[in-house]
Symmetry: C3
Subunit: 207 residues, 3 copies
C-alpha cells in the first residue's frame, strides 16, 4: 500500500520536474533527468547520508521507470492537456506527505533516533525539489516559499513520536501523512508563510 503511494509520489514529483525543465527549454533528455532528479533526489541523498549501502532505486528500479514514464507522458501531452494548477498543488502536497513519512520510516529502520528521522523525512520530501531548482539555475523555491518544509518537519516528527509511543506502523503512517497534507493544504489555502530575514542587506556578491 505505502509502496503504491510512494510510486504515486514519484510520478507527481517527476511531472513537476518535467514541467520545470520544460520552462527552461530543455530537450527531451534534460526533461527526463530533471524529472528523475526531482523524484529520486531526496531519497538518494537520504540513503547516501544514512550509509546503508546502495540507494533505493538501484535496489528496485521501478522508481526509475515510473519517473521516466511520467516525464515522457508529460512531455508528450503538455501541448494538449493542461492540468489545473490547484490539482498539481494538491498532488504535490500528497507526494510531500508520503515521501516525508517514508523517509522518516527508513531512518528509524536504519537505527537512528527520532530527531535524525525527522530531518531525514524532510530531506526525502524536499531535497529533490531543491536539486530540480539548482539544475534549472534557480535559487531553490523551498528556501523562500510559504510553509512547505515545515509541514514536512511536523509530519516527520509526528511519525517518529507516534512510532516511539508504540503505535503500529500503518496507524503512525496514516496519521503523519494526513497531518502533513493538512498543514500543507492549510498553508496554501491561507497563504501562510514564515518570517523573512530583515537585514538591511545588499544582494551584490558574485555574478
Amino acid at each position: 500500500m505505502i509502496y503504491f503511494l510512494d510510486l504515486f509520489g514519484t510520478a507527481v514529483f517527476a511531472i513537476a520536474g518535467a514541467l520545470a525543465g520544460g520552462r527552461k527549454r530543455m530537450d527531451l533528455f534534460g526533461i527526463v533527468v530533471v524529472a528523475l532528479a526531482t523524484a529520486l533526489g531526496g531519497g538518494t541523498i537520504r540513503d547516501a547520508v544514512l550509509g546503508e549501502g546502495r540507494v533505493f532505486w538501484v535496489a528496485d528500479y521501478t522508481y526509475v521507470i515510473v519517473g521516466s514514464v511520467a516525464a515522457l507522458v508529460t512531455f508528450i501531452t503538455v501541448r494538449f492537456v493542461l492540468l489545473p494548477g490547484s490539482l498539481m498543488l494538491l498532488a504535490d502536497a500528497f507526494g510531500l506527505a508520503v515521501f516525508t513519512v517514508i523517509g522518516a520510516h527508513r531512518s528509524l529502520a536504519a537505527g537512528t533516533g527520532a530527531f535524525v528521522a525527522m530531518i531525514m523525512g524532510m530531506t526525502t520530501g524536499v531535497a529533490g525539489g531543491m536539486v530540480r531548482d539548482i539544475l534549472c539555475g534557480e535559487i531553490p523555491l523551498v528556501l523562500r516559499k510559504e510553509v512547505y518544509a515545515v509541514a514536512s518537519l511536523i509530519g516527520g516528527g509526528l511519525y517518529a513520536a507516534t512510532a516511539a509511543l508504540g503505535a503500529s506502523d500503518p496507524v503512525a503512517m496514516t496519521i503523519a501523512v494526513l497531518v502533513t497534507l493538512g498543514v500543507r493544504v492549510a498553508a496554501i489555502h491561507w497563504g501562510l508563510s514564515l518570517p523573512v530575514f530583515a537585514q538591511p542587506g545588499r544582494e551584490d556578491r558574485g555574478s
Copy 2:
C-alpha cells in the same frame, strides 16, 4: 589498457573543466577544483549511489593527480596554445565513451541489473559535466544540448546487453566504446538534437 583510457578521459574532462572555469575568471584553485569536479564527479556520484564503500579516487589517487596536472598545464599553456575546437570535441566524445563503458562495467560488477548499469554508465559519463556547469553558475549544457547523454545511454545499454549475452569483457567494451563514439560524432557532424518541450510557458520564477 582500459585503465589508461580511463586516465586519458580524466585528463580530457579536466581540460574541459579548466577551460570552463577560466571563462568565469576563476583563480588557479578554482580552475583545479572545477577540473577535478568535471573529471571525477560522475564516478563519485556513481560510487556513492552504488554504496560500494570508498569512492574510486580515494582508493587510487592517480586520478586526482592526472586531473590536477591536466588543469595546471591548461592554466599555463592557454595563453600560448589554442587547441582546435574540433579536436577537443573529438577527445571529449572519446572520454564520454570510455567513462560510460567503465561506469556500466562497475555497476554490473557491483551486482546490479542491466538497466541500472545503463543509468550508471550515463551518470559516470555526464554527471561530471553537470557539476561543472553548476559550479560555473550555468544550467547544465547537457540538459539542452544535442545528442550527448543519449549516445551514453546507447553505449551503456549495448555494453550491458553484450555482457549479458556472454561476450568477453574486452570485446563488449570495445564495441560499446566505438558505438558511443560513433553516435556522438554523428550527432556533432549532422547537428542531431532531441525535440524540445513545447510549452507556451514563461521563465519567470526566482531570481
Copy 3:
C-alpha cells in the same frame, strides 16, 4: 577539546550561512537550511566519499542542533547586533582551520594515505561554503577568491606530514590549526590572491 572547537566551527559556519541566506531574502526555514548546508556540507561530502557508513551528524546530532541554534540566533539578532566584519573573517578563518584538520584526521583514521587526507581536509573546510553559494544561486566564492582553499591545503598537508612523522595527535593538530589560521589571516591582511586564468575568452554559454 577538538570536539568543542569543531562545534565552534559549526556555529561560525552556520552564522555565515544564515547571513548569506538572509541576503537572498530567504524565509526562516531557508536560513536554517543554508546554515546547516554551510556548516555540515563539507563533512557530509567527506563521509560519503570515504564510504565509512553513516555521516557524522547522523551519528551525533549535536552538530545539527548547534547549527540550527546558531542560525536561529542570527535570524533573531541580526536586526539589533551587527558583528564587525573583521571579527567574522577571523572566526571564519578559525572554523576553516579546525574543519581542515578534523577532515584530514578522519581521512587518515579511515585508512587513506596522506595525499587523500589533504584533499579530504580541504573538502571538509571549503565544500560547505561552496554548497551555500550554489543554494544562493552564486558561483562559489572560494573558486575566485583570495587564498582560502590554499590555506586549507597547506594545513591539511602539514597535519598529514607531521602525523606520518610520528607526532602525537594533539601536537600535530595544534600546529596544523595554527598554520592554517596564520596563512589565511596573512592572506586577508595583505590581500594575497592566486593568479587568474588569462584566456581571451567569452562568457557567453548557457542562460
